[in-house]
Subunit: 244 residues, 2 copies
DNA sequence: TATTGTATATTGTTTGACAATCTACAACGC
DNA sequence: GCGTTGTAGATTGTCAAACAATATACAATA
């Protein structure tokens, strides 16, 4: 009865992964990609039918998502995709600043020439995307850049917390640097980061990372201010979120 | 706000909390208090009968606990209380160092005289406990001290991540500074922290916090080394963990 | 001794059931 | 008209029973 393309090799996957985990990951994907928007209510039956499973695994997935902060469960009312207020986003940015500073310091001491080359290759691609004003491509590379940095530290716990934070901030707004004017600025900051890491100066690298996060947060606030001005009568939760 | 013994008015609680949440919190308590020890296998039926509920809520609780990192789920094998290797604990300490540094910096800029008094009162009690060589009392106060610090930052996200980390480190070893000889050293570090925060020097306060975490990690390693020497033929997972 | 087979326990998932609660809406009284 | 009350329907929270799939322990076999 259920021959949809996306769920073909389900059998193989179920040999190693529980169905609940797959459901959880799928819902997470739907949320982070924006196919399910913030604030939206999720019904057990609705998700269960959409994915072709029963209520049980869906309930379990909900609990996992709630624990990771992507949804909010209200007893007898349902689960809602979490909405992140700007104040919460600021808190997240503050923590991220501390983590990125730590990443910068660590990498300045441990990075290899090969890894530096990898980062510089990413920079080249970011430069190209920025030159073309391609916000989507740049954002994707930007994400990859930071993800790679934290991975290079070799600290799994750090990477886990970092990604948890990024998910939340993604939830807040999927286009932090939506304006193509800011791409060049952002790119320069990334160059500075790589440069400081390459100089093997932990404090300088940490400062560059922290400064970048602070600047990102500022850009986020500016974007918000601009949007608020344009829309004027702003109804934040209902506004259409542009696709990426 | 919630000063009831524990299981007084279960009915009231169920009005606002789902049974799964309560089960999850109870299992978490059992784990962190050591009543369930690291590495132990938890069966759905066993926990369900122990708490007088059915398998469903227990499964959900397990998923929540797995997401928060306290248990590990292996498909078709069961859930196990997570064991934290020393390498993982080190990763945790590294992240905690970054977070505590952030806390120190923030508090140096925002703390009030009243809050400082509160911290100094805690220091007095810690001094007393250290003087009596009461490791248990000191550890408890130590925990309260740091918990209070992060709360004073007003950054909820930071507090959340911090507590998540502390839970994991608790899981690793419930007695980090088990040796009464180190209490005085630890106390001095805490005094230094309060002093630097009081001096309103963010960088100095951050450094004091970071240094304290590094020293704590060192003490943890020393304790381990001593234990290993005593036990010699060390079988880490089976060794008796001292109460508290 | 190593391998294979088998019994048992546990997990993973489904289904059905039902009480509790929320939500929306209609009926009612003022 | 407007606030209150009542009711119906939907959804959640929990339980229970069932069964396939898998893991584990142990016996049988080569």
């Amino acid at each position: 009865m259920d021959t949809r393309p996306a769920y073909d090799s389900t059998i193989d996957l179920l040999r190693s992964q529980s169905l609940s985990s797959l459901v959880q990951r799928e819902i997470e994907r739907l949320i982070l990609s924006g196919e399910i928007s913030a604030g939206e209510k999720l019904t057990e039956l609705g998700v269960a039918e959409r994915l072709g499973v029963s209520r049980g695994p869906v309930r379990e997935a909900f609990r996992g998502l709630a624990e990771s902060g992507l949804v909010r469960m209200e007893k007898n009312r349902g689960v809602f995709v979490r909405t992140v207020a700007v104040e919460e986003a600021d808190e997240g940015f503050a923590v991220r600043e501390a983590l990125e500073e730590m990443i910068g310091r660590a990498l300045a001491e441990s990075i290899t020439e090969g890894e530096l080359g990898e980062l510089r290759a990413l920079l080249v691609r970011m430069e190209k995307a920025a030159g073309q004003g391609s916000v989507d491509a740049y954002s994707e590379l930007n994400f990859r850049f930071h993800d790679r940095l934290v991975a290079l530290t070799g600290n799994g716990r750090l990477a886990g917390m970092y990604q948890q934070l990024v998910k939340e901030l993604t939830l807040f707004r999927r286009q932090t640097l939506a304006r193509s004017e800011t791409l060049a600025v952002s790119l320069a900051e990334h160059r500075e980061i790589v440069e400081k890491i390459a100089s093997r100066d932990p404090m300088a690298a940490g400062r560059a990372m922290a400064a970048h996060v602070r600047a990102s947060r500022e850009r986020m606030h500016e974007s918000r201010a601009i949007d608020a001005g344009e829309v004027d009568e702003e109804r934040e939760t209902q506004r259409e979120e542009g696709s990426t």
